[in-house]
């Protein structure tokens, strides 16, 4: 009976979040230099005629889709990584996964190995993220204490930063260096449907890999030994999370640059509502991530004057103070949990 009530709440939460994401998506189609009414935006989306049709279909739809897909991927990645490491502070950006992905992706562009919308870019991004996430899980995986996770993250983020600096340093011309610098700031401006199609398969794969192991994250609440005794293949789960997060974050960075902290904030906002269940937090965490990033992208359009304020800058400006507040508010619980 209690389980049924929990289930009803969960359905309510998820349908509410889906409604929120859809409402924000419509708003995102309306907002910009040329404002449209909700009706006009939806009509333009439907028939694609006239100036409004071009604005909505070719400018605003791709960035709205990307914001939703990337936000969901980052929210899900954060929730999965937190489940694996049993630590609410695990977040791809904290250990430089986006920076590492940017280093990988910028490497292939800087040296002319591929154009910006070639498949090689997300692959290079995924490879970069794989190094960073694999490094974290290898260092802090088995005994994921708060201190060890954060210190490993610091080291890996510094390393990713150094790798990106090296690419900048060796970049054959200043134009490429500038492109990389903007990339690191993260943005959804001027993205086309091509970008969406390029990244979408990676996102889908990442979602499947990460969501598949939901029950394993739940069993890991008891620690690795007890989870293994319940039949969880802990090593395989660890590998799946590394690969899944790398696929998602790498592809996100490849099309939109480094956007951080959505994976930290989104699961945290809904965790209490799902009873801290590391499996049930996955879906609402992803939906909240989508809502947050679409909202941030709308805010960027309102705030930008002559110079575009980059989306990654906004999420970091909101995310870092949030992260610090979380450290203080959860300090007792985190320090209470044995390493």
């Amino acid at each position: 009976m209690r389980a049924n009530i929990g289930k009803t709440n969960q359905i309510g939460l998820n349908s509410g979040l889906i409604a929120l994401v859809l409402a924000l998506a419509v708003l995102s189609l309306m907002v910009g230099p040329a404002g449209l009414s909700p009706r006009a935006a939806l009509v333009a989306l439907w028939d694609g005629e006239g100036v409004a049709g071009i604005i909505v279909r070719e400018l605003r739809l791709p960035r709205t889709l990307l914001a939703g897909l990337i936000g969901a991927t980052l929210g899900l990645s954060g929730a999965a990584l937190q489940g694996l490491l049993r630590n609410p502070l695990a977040e791809p950006a904290l250990f430089g996964a986006p920076q590492a992905a940017a280093a990988g992706a910028s490497l292939v562009i800087a040296f002319g190995l591929a154009g910006a919308t070639s498949l090689a870019v997300p692959f290079a991004g995924v490879a970069g993220a794989l190094v960073s996430i694999g490094g974290l899980v290898a260092i802090a995986g088995r005994r994921a204490s708060l201190t060890l996770t954060l210190l490993a993250g610091l080291a890996l983020a510094s390393f990713a930063g150094a790798a990106t600096a090296l690419v900048l340093n060796l970049a054959p011309n200043p134009f490429i260096a500038l492109e990389i610098a903007f990339w690191l700031l993260g943005s959804l401006q001027d993205r086309s449907i091509e970008h969406v199609l390029l990244a979408a398969p990676f996102f889908a794969l990442s979602w499947i890999v990460l969501a598949w192991h939901g029950r394993a994250y739940r069993a890991l609440t008891l620690g690795e030994d007890a989870a293994a005794s319940l039949g969880v293949d802990v090593d395989r789960t660890r590998l799946a999370v590394v690969v899944g997060v790398a696929l998602g974050v790498g592809a996100a960075v490849a099309v939109a640059g480094a956007i951080g902290f959505v994976g930290l904030v989104a699961p945290h906002l809904v965790r209490r509502a799902v009873g801290y269940d590391p499996a049930r937090v996955l879906l609402p965490g992803a939906l909240t991530g989508a809502a947050l990033l679409i909202a941030a992208d709308i805010a960027v359009r309102f705030a930008s004057g002559a110079v575009e304020i980059k989306l990654g800058v906004v999420t970091a400006l909101i995310g870092v103070p949030f992260f610090i507040a979380m450290i203080f508010s959860e300090r007792r619980m985190l320090e209470g949990a044995p390493s």
């Binding site: 609440t221 620690g223 319940l230 039949g231 009873g275 801290y276 590391p278």
Partner: protein
């Protein structure tokens, strides 16, 4: 006596190259409550983790007629429930949700919990006297309450073999007795229970057999009165002990370190 369920033959476990358990032999049969005692660092937990199939070990560990290493993780989980020491819950979930994790090996990943799952969770909570703790968040529970929830989680798997690492640590005297009676009842209903204890009096009163471990080796495997005789305790634990008549058997009482 029926055939032993879980058998270890000449088992050696190395951690980081160092042998922690050396040439251990033991058998755990149906209906038995066996208690493993030994000084700190004797290798008790390492041996138990190897028996649970969680550590690679040299030698043979068999479940029925099959080597434990050959079992699929899920098959192993159906047969052996393992309760680690420490009773750590990493997320402040509800206590009954924690106990329900014991149903993990039985669950269909895509289906809701079955009626059988619900009954198993309710029975495990009732057996550990923790039914009223069910709706509470585990972060709000005391150490002893957490220990009971952790044990209920292990019982909810309903595996025929239960390996419990210090199930009575952090418990008040009454709940120590409740847990020991529960372990004995689990054994009497056909299961096999191996428990690591530090309380020699509890071991003497409840165990069918006591295994004494010291420096990685199993020294004695005998009924409690023999295994816990003062001469042996002096040799393994370095304590001077006396046997006290309690009305239901002789129980060792540690008097002072030697």
């Amino acid at each position: 006596m029926s055939a032993p369920l879980l058998v270890a033959r000449d088992v050696t476990v190395r951690l980081g190259g160092r042998p922690i358990v050396t040439a251990a032999n033991l058998a755990l049969g149906p209906g038995e409550l066996v208690v493993l005692v030994g000084p700190n660092g004797a290798g008790k937990t390492t041996l138990m983790r190897a028996l649970a199939g969680l550590l690679a070990a040299d030698g043979d560990i068999t479940l029925g007629d099959r080597p434990i290493a050959a079992l699929a993780p899920r098959e192993r989980a159906w047969a052996i429930a393992y309760l680690p020491q420490g009773h750590v819950f990493h997320w402040p979930m509800r206590a009954d949700a924690i106990v329900a994790l014991g149903r993990h090996p039985h669950a269909d990943p895509l289906a809701a919990p079955s009626e059988q799952d619900r009954i198993a969770v309710a029975q495990a909570l009732e057996a550990t006297g923790a039914t009223t703790l069910g709706p509470r968040l585990v972060s709000t529970l005391s150490g002893g309450e957490r220990a009971r929830i952790a044990l209920a989680r292990a019982l909810a798997t309903q595996a025929p073999i239960l390996l419990a690492d210090e199930p009575t640590a952090a418990l008040d005297p009454r709940h120590q007795l409740v847990v020991m009676e529960l372990l004995r009842a689990t054994a009497r209903s056909g299961g096999s229970v191996l428990a690591i204890l530090h309380d020699l009096a509890l071991a003497a009163r409840f165990a069918d057999r006591v295994i004494v471990m010291c420096d990685g080796a199993l020294i004695v495997d005998a009924p409690p009165a023999d295994a816990l005789a003062p001469a042996r305790l002096a040799e393994t634990f370095g304590i001077e002990a006396v046997m006290v008549e309690t009305g239901d058997g002789l129980v060792p009482l540690a008097r002072r370190p030697i």
